[in-house]
Amino acid sequence: MSSSSNISIQINHVSKLFHKQNQRTFKELIPALFGGQKVVESFWALKDINLEIKKGKTIGVIGPNGSGKSTLLKLIAGVSQPTKGKIITHGKVAPLIELGAGFHPELTGRENVFLNGIILGMSRAEVTEKFKKIVDFAEIWDFIDQPVKHYSSGMYLRLAFAVAVHTQPEILLVDEILAVGDVSFQAKCFKKMDEFKNNGITIIYVSHAIESVRGFCDKVLYIDQGKMMDYGESGKVVEKYLEEMNVISK
Protein backbone atom coordinates (compact mmCIF):
# COMPACT_ATOMS: atom_id res chain seq x y z
CA MET A 1 0.00 0.00 0.00
CA SER A 2 2.75 2.44 0.93
CA SER A 3 4.20 2.83 -2.53
CA SER A 4 0.82 2.89 -4.26
CA SER A 5 -0.99 5.03 -1.71
CA ASN A 6 -1.23 8.00 -4.05
CA ILE A 7 -2.18 5.88 -7.05
CA SER A 8 -5.84 5.60 -7.80
CA ILE A 9 -6.04 3.53 -10.94
CA GLN A 10 -3.28 1.46 -12.41
CA ILE A 11 -3.79 0.23 -15.94
CA ASN A 12 -1.03 -2.21 -16.80
CA HIS A 13 -0.72 -3.07 -20.49
CA VAL A 14 -4.40 -3.77 -20.76
CA SER A 15 -5.88 -5.30 -23.88
CA LYS A 16 -9.42 -6.40 -24.41
CA LEU A 17 -10.42 -8.92 -27.03
CA PHE A 18 -14.07 -8.91 -27.90
CA HIS A 19 -15.79 -11.97 -29.26
CA LYS A 20 -18.59 -10.82 -31.40
CA GLN A 21 -21.28 -13.41 -31.65
CA ASN A 22 -22.51 -13.23 -35.22
CA GLN A 23 -25.62 -15.26 -34.55
CA ARG A 24 -27.80 -14.58 -31.57
CA THR A 25 -30.61 -16.95 -32.42
CA PHE A 26 -30.72 -20.62 -33.32
CA LYS A 27 -32.33 -19.70 -36.60
CA GLU A 28 -29.12 -17.90 -37.52
CA LEU A 29 -26.77 -20.22 -35.72
CA ILE A 30 -27.82 -23.55 -37.21
CA PRO A 31 -27.41 -22.62 -40.91
CA ALA A 32 -24.15 -20.90 -39.99
CA LEU A 33 -22.78 -24.05 -38.41
CA PHE A 34 -23.69 -26.14 -41.45
CA GLY A 35 -22.52 -23.50 -43.86
CA GLY A 36 -19.16 -23.31 -42.16
CA GLN A 37 -19.53 -19.63 -41.36
CA LYS A 38 -17.70 -18.09 -38.48
CA VAL A 39 -19.77 -18.27 -35.32
CA VAL A 40 -17.58 -15.93 -33.37
CA GLU A 41 -15.53 -13.06 -34.68
CA SER A 42 -12.88 -11.44 -32.56
CA PHE A 43 -11.41 -7.97 -32.52
CA TRP A 44 -9.31 -5.98 -30.11
CA ALA A 45 -11.38 -3.26 -28.47
CA LEU A 46 -8.38 -2.05 -26.51
CA LYS A 47 -4.74 -2.62 -27.27
CA ASP A 48 -2.01 -2.30 -24.72
CA ILE A 49 -3.33 0.61 -22.70
CA ASN A 50 -0.83 1.53 -20.08
CA LEU A 51 -1.19 4.36 -17.61
CA GLU A 52 -1.20 5.25 -14.00
CA ILE A 53 -3.71 7.70 -12.60
CA LYS A 54 -2.90 9.53 -9.41
CA LYS A 55 -5.42 10.14 -6.69
CA GLY A 56 -7.49 13.27 -7.09
CA LYS A 57 -6.75 13.75 -10.77
CA THR A 58 -9.41 14.31 -13.35
CA ILE A 59 -8.76 12.43 -16.52
CA GLY A 60 -10.62 13.08 -19.70
CA VAL A 61 -11.05 10.30 -22.23
CA ILE A 62 -11.64 11.33 -25.81
CA GLY A 63 -11.75 9.58 -29.14
CA PRO A 64 -14.12 8.96 -32.03
CA ASN A 65 -17.13 6.66 -31.69
CA GLY A 66 -16.20 3.03 -31.23
CA SER A 67 -12.68 3.86 -30.13
CA GLY A 68 -12.96 1.89 -26.89
CA LYS A 69 -13.83 4.62 -24.40
CA SER A 70 -16.82 2.81 -22.93
CA THR A 71 -14.91 -0.45 -22.84
CA LEU A 72 -12.25 1.24 -20.78
CA LEU A 73 -14.88 2.48 -18.33
CA LYS A 74 -16.33 -1.02 -18.08
CA LEU A 75 -12.93 -2.40 -17.23
CA ILE A 76 -12.35 0.24 -14.56
CA ALA A 77 -15.82 -0.39 -13.13
CA GLY A 78 -14.95 -4.08 -12.95
CA VAL A 79 -17.92 -5.29 -14.95
CA SER A 80 -15.69 -6.59 -17.72
CA GLN A 81 -12.33 -8.32 -17.43
CA PRO A 82 -9.24 -7.46 -19.48
CA THR A 83 -8.01 -10.17 -21.83
CA LYS A 84 -4.40 -9.23 -21.18
CA GLY A 85 -2.84 -7.04 -18.55
CA LYS A 86 -4.27 -5.91 -15.30
CA ILE A 87 -6.31 -3.08 -13.84
CA ILE A 88 -5.93 -2.22 -10.21
CA THR A 89 -8.26 0.32 -8.62
CA HIS A 90 -7.83 1.71 -5.15
CA GLY A 91 -11.08 2.72 -3.52
CA LYS A 92 -14.75 2.60 -4.24
CA VAL A 93 -15.76 3.12 -7.83
CA ALA A 94 -19.09 4.80 -8.59
CA PRO A 95 -20.30 4.87 -12.14
CA LEU A 96 -22.81 7.47 -13.18
CA ILE A 97 -25.40 5.08 -14.42
CA GLU A 98 -27.00 5.99 -17.70
CA LEU A 99 -30.54 7.24 -17.66
CA GLY A 100 -33.00 4.58 -16.73
CA ALA A 101 -30.57 1.86 -15.77
CA GLY A 102 -30.81 1.96 -12.02
CA PHE A 103 -34.20 3.62 -12.09
CA HIS A 104 -37.58 2.15 -12.61
CA PRO A 105 -40.06 4.38 -14.45
CA GLU A 106 -43.07 3.16 -12.47
CA LEU A 107 -41.50 3.88 -9.11
CA THR A 108 -41.52 7.29 -7.48
CA GLY A 109 -38.48 9.52 -7.21
CA ARG A 110 -38.22 8.66 -3.54
CA GLU A 111 -38.31 4.92 -4.16
CA ASN A 112 -35.79 5.30 -6.94
CA VAL A 113 -33.35 7.20 -4.74
CA PHE A 114 -33.29 4.24 -2.39
CA LEU A 115 -33.12 1.71 -5.19
CA ASN A 116 -30.34 3.52 -6.99
CA GLY A 117 -28.39 4.32 -3.84
CA ILE A 118 -28.39 0.72 -2.73
CA ILE A 119 -27.47 -0.48 -6.22
CA LEU A 120 -24.50 1.88 -6.01
CA GLY A 121 -23.42 0.27 -2.78
CA MET A 122 -24.92 2.45 -0.07
CA SER A 123 -26.81 0.94 2.82
CA ARG A 124 -30.45 1.78 3.45
CA ALA A 125 -29.45 3.72 6.55
CA GLU A 126 -26.94 5.77 4.58
CA VAL A 127 -29.53 6.66 1.95
CA THR A 128 -32.00 7.65 4.63
CA GLU A 129 -29.37 9.84 6.21
CA LYS A 130 -28.46 11.55 2.96
CA PHE A 131 -31.91 11.63 1.46
CA LYS A 132 -32.50 15.31 2.12
CA LYS A 133 -29.13 16.29 0.70
CA ILE A 134 -29.71 14.21 -2.41
CA VAL A 135 -33.10 15.72 -3.16
CA ASP A 136 -31.84 19.20 -2.32
CA PHE A 137 -29.06 18.75 -4.78
CA ALA A 138 -31.36 17.43 -7.48
CA GLU A 139 -33.90 20.19 -6.76
CA ILE A 140 -36.89 17.98 -7.31
CA TRP A 141 -38.78 18.17 -4.02
CA ASP A 142 -42.03 18.93 -5.85
CA PHE A 143 -41.84 15.72 -7.81
CA ILE A 144 -40.21 13.37 -5.37
CA ASP A 145 -43.37 11.30 -4.84
CA GLN A 146 -44.27 11.12 -8.52
CA PRO A 147 -43.33 8.15 -10.68
CA VAL A 148 -40.15 9.02 -12.53
CA LYS A 149 -41.79 8.20 -15.86
CA HIS A 150 -43.34 11.66 -15.57
CA TYR A 151 -39.92 13.28 -15.20
CA SER A 152 -38.19 15.13 -17.97
CA SER A 153 -34.85 13.72 -19.02
CA GLY A 154 -33.17 16.62 -17.25
CA MET A 155 -34.89 15.85 -13.96
CA TYR A 156 -33.99 12.21 -14.36
CA LEU A 157 -30.38 13.10 -14.83
CA ARG A 158 -30.37 15.45 -11.88
CA LEU A 159 -31.64 12.72 -9.62
CA ALA A 160 -29.20 10.16 -11.00
CA PHE A 161 -26.26 12.51 -10.61
CA ALA A 162 -27.35 13.53 -7.13
CA VAL A 163 -27.49 9.93 -5.95
CA ALA A 164 -24.18 8.99 -7.53
CA VAL A 165 -22.24 11.88 -6.03
CA HIS A 166 -23.63 11.18 -2.57
CA THR A 167 -22.32 7.60 -2.51
CA GLN A 168 -18.93 8.96 -1.44
CA PRO A 169 -16.99 7.38 -4.25
CA GLU A 170 -13.24 7.50 -4.45
CA ILE A 171 -13.34 7.08 -8.17
CA LEU A 172 -16.18 8.61 -10.15
CA LEU A 173 -16.84 7.46 -13.68
CA VAL A 174 -18.71 10.03 -15.73
CA ASP A 175 -19.93 9.01 -19.14
CA GLU A 176 -21.34 11.45 -21.67
CA ILE A 177 -24.66 11.76 -19.85
CA LEU A 178 -24.13 15.25 -18.43
CA ALA A 179 -25.06 16.60 -21.83
CA VAL A 180 -28.78 16.23 -21.05
CA GLY A 181 -28.92 18.66 -18.15
CA ASP A 182 -29.67 22.33 -18.61
CA VAL A 183 -26.92 24.90 -18.34
CA SER A 184 -27.45 25.77 -14.71
CA PHE A 185 -27.51 22.15 -13.62
CA GLN A 186 -24.43 21.39 -15.67
CA ALA A 187 -22.71 24.21 -13.88
CA LYS A 188 -23.80 22.74 -10.59
CA CYS A 189 -22.47 19.33 -11.59
CA PHE A 190 -19.12 20.79 -12.52
CA LYS A 191 -19.05 22.65 -9.24
CA LYS A 192 -19.69 19.42 -7.39
CA MET A 193 -17.01 17.68 -9.41
CA ASP A 194 -14.61 20.49 -8.61
CA GLU A 195 -15.36 19.89 -4.97
CA PHE A 196 -14.58 16.23 -5.53
CA LYS A 197 -11.31 17.16 -7.15
CA ASN A 198 -10.33 19.18 -4.13
CA ASN A 199 -11.25 16.30 -1.86
CA GLY A 200 -8.87 13.98 -3.66
CA ILE A 201 -11.44 12.03 -5.61
CA THR A 202 -10.40 10.69 -8.96
CA ILE A 203 -12.71 11.41 -11.87
CA ILE A 204 -12.71 9.72 -15.22
CA TYR A 205 -14.64 11.89 -17.61
CA VAL A 206 -15.64 10.54 -21.00
CA SER A 207 -17.07 13.09 -23.35
CA HIS A 208 -17.37 14.39 -26.86
CA ALA A 209 -17.78 17.88 -25.47
CA ILE A 210 -14.18 18.77 -26.19
CA GLU A 211 -14.32 22.21 -24.60
CA SER A 212 -15.49 20.90 -21.25
CA VAL A 213 -12.79 18.23 -21.36
CA ARG A 214 -10.14 20.85 -22.04
CA GLY A 215 -11.41 23.13 -19.30
CA PHE A 216 -12.10 20.56 -16.67
CA CYS A 217 -9.54 17.78 -16.91
CA ASP A 218 -5.99 17.68 -15.62
CA LYS A 219 -4.91 15.18 -18.20
CA VAL A 220 -6.48 13.68 -21.26
CA LEU A 221 -6.27 10.23 -22.76
CA TYR A 222 -6.91 10.09 -26.46
CA ILE A 223 -7.72 6.69 -27.88
CA ASP A 224 -8.59 5.56 -31.36
CA GLN A 225 -9.43 2.03 -32.45
CA GLY A 226 -8.43 0.77 -29.05
CA LYS A 227 -4.96 2.27 -29.24
CA MET A 228 -3.56 4.90 -26.95
CA MET A 229 -2.83 7.79 -29.30
CA ASP A 230 -1.73 10.26 -26.69
CA TYR A 231 -1.86 10.93 -22.99
CA GLY A 232 -0.85 14.07 -21.25
CA GLU A 233 -1.63 17.69 -20.57
CA SER A 234 -5.23 18.50 -21.62
CA GLY A 235 -4.65 21.37 -24.02
CA LYS A 236 -1.96 19.56 -25.96
CA VAL A 237 -3.82 16.27 -26.34
CA VAL A 238 -7.10 17.91 -27.26
CA GLU A 239 -5.24 19.94 -29.87
CA LYS A 240 -3.76 16.80 -31.35
CA TYR A 241 -7.11 15.06 -31.39
CA LEU A 242 -8.81 17.96 -33.17
CA GLU A 243 -6.01 18.14 -35.70
CA GLU A 244 -6.18 14.45 -36.52
CA MET A 245 -9.95 14.42 -36.75
CA ASN A 246 -9.78 17.34 -39.15
CA VAL A 247 -7.20 15.58 -41.27
CA ILE A 248 -9.52 12.63 -41.61
CA SER A 249 -12.49 14.78 -42.59
CA LYS A 250 -10.57 16.79 -45.17
Binding site: Q21, K27, G78, A101, G102, E106, R124
Partner: protein
Amino acid sequence: MTIFTKYKELLVELTKREIKARYKQSVLGYAWVILNPFFQMLVMAFVFSKILRITNLSVPYALFLYVGLLPWNLFATSVTSSMNSLVANSSLLTKIYFPREVFVLSTIAAKIVDFLLASIILVIFFIFFHQSVTANIWWVLPIFMIQQLFTYGLSLILAAFNLFYRDIQYLFGLIILTWMYLTPVIYPTEMFPERYRWIFKLNPMAVIINAYRQVLLSGGTPNLTSLGIALGLSIGMVAIGYKIFKRLEGMFADVV
Protein backbone atom coordinates in the same frame (compact mmCIF):
# COMPACT_ATOMS: atom_id res chain seq x y z
CA MET B 1 -23.37 -17.14 0.97
CA THR B 2 -22.02 -13.60 1.34
CA ILE B 3 -24.78 -12.77 -1.04
CA PHE B 4 -27.28 -13.05 1.82
CA THR B 5 -25.25 -10.89 4.15
CA LYS B 6 -23.28 -8.32 2.20
CA TYR B 7 -25.87 -7.93 -0.54
CA LYS B 8 -28.96 -8.43 1.58
CA GLU B 9 -30.23 -4.88 1.16
CA LEU B 10 -29.63 -4.92 -2.55
CA LEU B 11 -31.51 -8.18 -2.80
CA VAL B 12 -34.43 -6.77 -0.83
CA GLU B 13 -34.47 -3.57 -2.87
CA LEU B 14 -34.44 -5.36 -6.22
CA THR B 15 -37.16 -7.70 -5.02
CA LYS B 16 -39.28 -4.74 -3.98
CA ARG B 17 -38.72 -3.11 -7.34
CA GLU B 18 -39.87 -6.28 -9.04
CA ILE B 19 -43.04 -6.47 -6.98
CA LYS B 20 -43.96 -2.79 -6.90
CA ALA B 21 -43.29 -2.01 -10.51
CA ARG B 22 -45.37 -4.87 -11.82
CA TYR B 23 -48.60 -3.85 -10.23
CA LYS B 24 -48.34 -0.11 -9.92
CA GLN B 25 -50.09 0.54 -13.17
CA SER B 26 -52.97 -1.91 -13.03
CA VAL B 27 -56.23 -0.97 -11.35
CA LEU B 28 -56.61 -4.12 -9.32
CA GLY B 29 -52.96 -4.00 -8.44
CA TYR B 30 -51.78 -6.89 -6.46
CA ALA B 31 -55.15 -8.63 -6.59
CA TRP B 32 -54.09 -10.10 -9.92
CA VAL B 33 -51.61 -12.30 -8.16
CA ILE B 34 -54.50 -13.97 -6.39
CA LEU B 35 -57.12 -13.73 -9.13
CA ASN B 36 -54.98 -15.16 -11.90
CA PRO B 37 -54.30 -18.60 -10.44
CA PHE B 38 -57.80 -18.65 -9.01
CA PHE B 39 -59.45 -18.30 -12.40
CA GLN B 40 -56.93 -20.62 -13.96
CA MET B 41 -57.92 -23.16 -11.36
CA LEU B 42 -61.65 -22.61 -11.95
CA VAL B 43 -61.31 -23.20 -15.68
CA MET B 44 -59.15 -26.26 -15.24
CA ALA B 45 -61.35 -27.65 -12.49
CA PHE B 46 -64.34 -27.34 -14.78
CA VAL B 47 -62.60 -29.03 -17.68
CA PHE B 48 -61.06 -31.86 -15.72
CA SER B 49 -63.85 -32.65 -13.32
CA LYS B 50 -66.87 -32.06 -15.56
CA ILE B 51 -65.65 -32.78 -19.10
CA LEU B 52 -62.63 -35.06 -18.93
CA ARG B 53 -63.71 -36.34 -15.52
CA ILE B 54 -60.83 -37.18 -13.28
CA THR B 55 -62.50 -39.23 -10.55
CA ASN B 56 -61.63 -41.55 -7.68
CA LEU B 57 -59.99 -38.78 -5.71
CA SER B 58 -60.37 -38.67 -1.95
CA VAL B 59 -60.72 -34.87 -2.05
CA PRO B 60 -62.65 -32.47 -4.33
CA TYR B 61 -60.83 -32.03 -7.63
CA ALA B 62 -60.55 -28.25 -7.23
CA LEU B 63 -58.64 -28.72 -4.01
CA PHE B 64 -56.52 -31.51 -5.46
CA LEU B 65 -55.64 -29.32 -8.43
CA TYR B 66 -54.88 -26.18 -6.47
CA VAL B 67 -52.42 -27.90 -4.16
CA GLY B 68 -50.43 -28.91 -7.23
CA LEU B 69 -51.05 -25.92 -9.43
CA LEU B 70 -49.82 -23.23 -7.03
CA PRO B 71 -46.33 -24.67 -6.53
CA TRP B 72 -46.13 -25.56 -10.20
CA ASN B 73 -46.97 -21.98 -11.19
CA LEU B 74 -44.36 -20.75 -8.76
CA PHE B 75 -41.77 -22.97 -10.38
CA ALA B 76 -42.72 -22.13 -13.96
CA THR B 77 -42.96 -18.37 -13.48
CA SER B 78 -39.79 -18.24 -11.38
CA VAL B 79 -37.70 -20.00 -13.98
CA THR B 80 -39.21 -18.11 -16.90
CA SER B 81 -38.69 -14.70 -15.30
CA SER B 82 -35.24 -15.50 -13.95
CA MET B 83 -34.16 -16.54 -17.38
CA ASN B 84 -34.88 -13.02 -18.58
CA SER B 85 -33.57 -11.24 -15.54
CA LEU B 86 -30.06 -10.66 -16.89
CA VAL B 87 -31.20 -9.46 -20.29
CA ALA B 88 -33.79 -7.20 -18.65
CA ASN B 89 -31.12 -5.62 -16.46
CA SER B 90 -28.54 -5.29 -19.19
CA SER B 91 -27.95 -1.61 -18.54
CA LEU B 92 -26.98 -2.32 -14.95
CA LEU B 93 -24.97 -5.31 -16.02
CA THR B 94 -22.68 -3.15 -18.13
CA LYS B 95 -22.21 -0.38 -15.57
CA ILE B 96 -21.71 -1.64 -12.09
CA TYR B 97 -20.40 -4.76 -10.51
CA PHE B 98 -22.11 -6.84 -7.90
CA PRO B 99 -22.64 -10.60 -8.01
CA ARG B 100 -25.02 -11.24 -10.87
CA GLU B 101 -26.95 -13.98 -9.14
CA VAL B 102 -28.61 -11.17 -7.21
CA PHE B 103 -30.81 -10.63 -10.27
CA VAL B 104 -31.88 -14.26 -10.33
CA LEU B 105 -32.44 -14.41 -6.58
CA SER B 106 -34.50 -11.24 -6.45
CA THR B 107 -36.67 -12.47 -9.31
CA ILE B 108 -37.34 -15.73 -7.51
CA ALA B 109 -37.99 -13.90 -4.23
CA ALA B 110 -40.63 -11.73 -5.89
CA LYS B 111 -42.36 -14.82 -7.24
CA ILE B 112 -42.38 -16.37 -3.79
CA VAL B 113 -44.21 -13.33 -2.48
CA ASP B 114 -46.79 -13.78 -5.26
CA PHE B 115 -47.09 -17.44 -4.35
CA LEU B 116 -47.69 -16.73 -0.68
CA LEU B 117 -50.44 -14.28 -1.54
CA ALA B 118 -52.05 -16.69 -3.97
CA SER B 119 -51.99 -19.31 -1.23
CA ILE B 120 -54.57 -17.34 0.72
CA ILE B 121 -57.20 -18.78 -1.59
CA LEU B 122 -55.93 -22.25 -0.81
CA VAL B 123 -56.42 -21.66 2.89
CA ILE B 124 -59.96 -20.50 2.18
CA PHE B 125 -60.51 -23.67 0.16
CA PHE B 126 -59.37 -25.82 3.03
CA ILE B 127 -61.91 -24.16 5.27
CA PHE B 128 -64.64 -24.25 2.65
CA PHE B 129 -64.23 -27.98 1.98
CA HIS B 130 -63.70 -28.79 5.68
CA GLN B 131 -60.38 -30.32 4.78
CA SER B 132 -58.49 -31.11 7.95
CA VAL B 133 -54.73 -31.09 8.22
CA THR B 134 -52.48 -33.17 10.43
CA ALA B 135 -49.25 -32.39 12.23
CA ASN B 136 -47.45 -33.55 9.10
CA ILE B 137 -48.13 -30.16 7.56
CA TRP B 138 -44.68 -29.00 8.73
CA TRP B 139 -43.25 -31.10 5.88
CA VAL B 140 -44.38 -28.32 3.57
CA LEU B 141 -41.33 -26.31 4.61
CA PRO B 142 -38.59 -28.79 3.65
CA ILE B 143 -40.49 -29.65 0.46
CA PHE B 144 -40.67 -25.97 -0.38
CA MET B 145 -36.94 -25.58 0.29
CA ILE B 146 -36.14 -28.43 -2.08
CA GLN B 147 -38.34 -26.84 -4.73
CA GLN B 148 -36.52 -23.52 -4.34
CA LEU B 149 -33.12 -25.14 -4.60
CA PHE B 150 -34.11 -26.87 -7.79
CA THR B 151 -35.63 -23.65 -9.17
CA TYR B 152 -32.53 -21.62 -8.32
CA GLY B 153 -30.10 -24.08 -9.90
CA LEU B 154 -32.08 -24.34 -13.11
CA SER B 155 -32.62 -20.57 -13.26
CA LEU B 156 -28.90 -19.86 -12.98
CA ILE B 157 -28.12 -22.08 -15.96
CA LEU B 158 -30.92 -20.75 -18.14
CA ALA B 159 -30.32 -17.09 -17.27
CA ALA B 160 -26.66 -17.38 -18.27
CA PHE B 161 -27.34 -19.25 -21.51
CA ASN B 162 -30.13 -16.91 -22.47
CA LEU B 163 -27.65 -14.04 -22.60
CA PHE B 164 -25.77 -15.83 -25.34
CA TYR B 165 -28.72 -17.22 -27.24
CA ARG B 166 -32.06 -15.55 -26.77
CA ASP B 167 -33.82 -18.55 -28.25
CA ILE B 168 -33.47 -20.33 -24.95
CA GLN B 169 -36.52 -18.47 -23.68
CA TYR B 170 -38.71 -19.53 -26.58
CA LEU B 171 -37.46 -23.08 -26.44
CA PHE B 172 -38.11 -23.13 -22.74
CA GLY B 173 -41.71 -22.01 -23.25
CA LEU B 174 -42.21 -25.28 -25.10
CA ILE B 175 -40.30 -27.31 -22.56
CA ILE B 176 -42.20 -25.95 -19.58
CA LEU B 177 -45.52 -26.86 -21.21
CA THR B 178 -44.38 -30.42 -21.89
CA TRP B 179 -42.92 -30.58 -18.43
CA MET B 180 -46.23 -29.68 -16.84
CA TYR B 181 -47.96 -32.57 -18.61
CA LEU B 182 -45.21 -34.93 -17.49
CA THR B 183 -45.71 -33.82 -13.91
CA PRO B 184 -48.79 -34.89 -11.96
CA VAL B 185 -50.22 -31.39 -11.65
CA ILE B 186 -53.65 -31.80 -13.21
CA TYR B 187 -53.93 -35.57 -12.79
CA PRO B 188 -53.00 -37.99 -9.99
CA THR B 189 -49.91 -40.17 -10.40
CA GLU B 190 -52.12 -43.28 -10.44
CA MET B 191 -53.60 -42.28 -13.79
CA PHE B 192 -50.19 -42.28 -15.44
CA PRO B 193 -49.29 -45.59 -17.19
CA GLU B 194 -47.43 -47.66 -14.64
CA ARG B 195 -44.52 -48.65 -16.83
CA TYR B 196 -43.63 -45.00 -17.47
CA ARG B 197 -44.05 -43.91 -13.89
CA TRP B 198 -40.32 -44.11 -13.22
CA ILE B 199 -40.09 -40.79 -15.10
CA PHE B 200 -41.61 -39.12 -12.04
CA LYS B 201 -38.76 -40.38 -9.88
CA LEU B 202 -36.27 -38.47 -11.98
CA ASN B 203 -38.47 -35.40 -12.20
CA PRO B 204 -37.99 -33.45 -8.99
CA MET B 205 -41.10 -31.42 -9.72
CA ALA B 206 -43.21 -34.59 -9.79
CA VAL B 207 -41.79 -35.70 -6.47
CA ILE B 208 -42.35 -32.26 -4.99
CA ILE B 209 -45.95 -31.93 -6.17
CA ASN B 210 -46.78 -35.42 -4.91
CA ALA B 211 -45.15 -34.65 -1.61
CA TYR B 212 -47.23 -31.49 -1.13
CA ARG B 213 -50.40 -33.50 -1.77
CA GLN B 214 -49.29 -36.26 0.55
CA VAL B 215 -48.73 -33.95 3.51
CA LEU B 216 -51.53 -31.47 2.86
CA LEU B 217 -54.36 -33.63 1.54
CA SER B 218 -53.69 -37.13 2.90
CA GLY B 219 -52.07 -35.96 6.09
CA GLY B 220 -49.30 -38.54 5.71
CA THR B 221 -45.55 -38.25 5.39
CA PRO B 222 -43.94 -37.87 1.97
CA ASN B 223 -42.13 -40.71 0.24
CA LEU B 224 -38.74 -40.16 1.78
CA THR B 225 -36.75 -42.08 -0.82
CA SER B 226 -38.20 -40.01 -3.65
CA LEU B 227 -37.80 -36.81 -1.69
CA GLY B 228 -34.21 -37.75 -0.92
CA ILE B 229 -33.50 -38.24 -4.61
CA ALA B 230 -35.17 -34.92 -5.38
CA LEU B 231 -33.08 -33.22 -2.73
CA GLY B 232 -29.91 -34.76 -4.16
CA LEU B 233 -30.84 -33.69 -7.69
CA SER B 234 -31.68 -30.19 -6.50
CA ILE B 235 -28.41 -29.75 -4.67
CA GLY B 236 -26.60 -31.05 -7.74
CA MET B 237 -28.54 -28.59 -9.87
CA VAL B 238 -27.50 -25.66 -7.69
CA ALA B 239 -23.87 -26.82 -7.66
CA ILE B 240 -23.73 -27.17 -11.44
CA GLY B 241 -25.82 -24.06 -12.07
CA TYR B 242 -23.68 -21.93 -9.81
CA LYS B 243 -20.50 -23.20 -11.37
CA ILE B 244 -21.69 -22.51 -14.92
CA PHE B 245 -23.05 -19.10 -13.92
CA LYS B 246 -19.85 -18.00 -12.20
CA ARG B 247 -17.76 -19.30 -15.07
CA LEU B 248 -19.66 -17.20 -17.57
CA GLU B 249 -20.26 -14.20 -15.29
CA GLY B 250 -17.11 -12.38 -16.39
CA MET B 251 -18.41 -12.34 -19.95
CA PHE B 252 -21.93 -11.11 -19.22
CA ALA B 253 -21.16 -7.43 -19.68
CA ASP B 254 -19.40 -8.19 -22.97
CA VAL B 255 -22.10 -10.27 -24.62
CA VAL B 256 -25.27 -8.61 -23.42
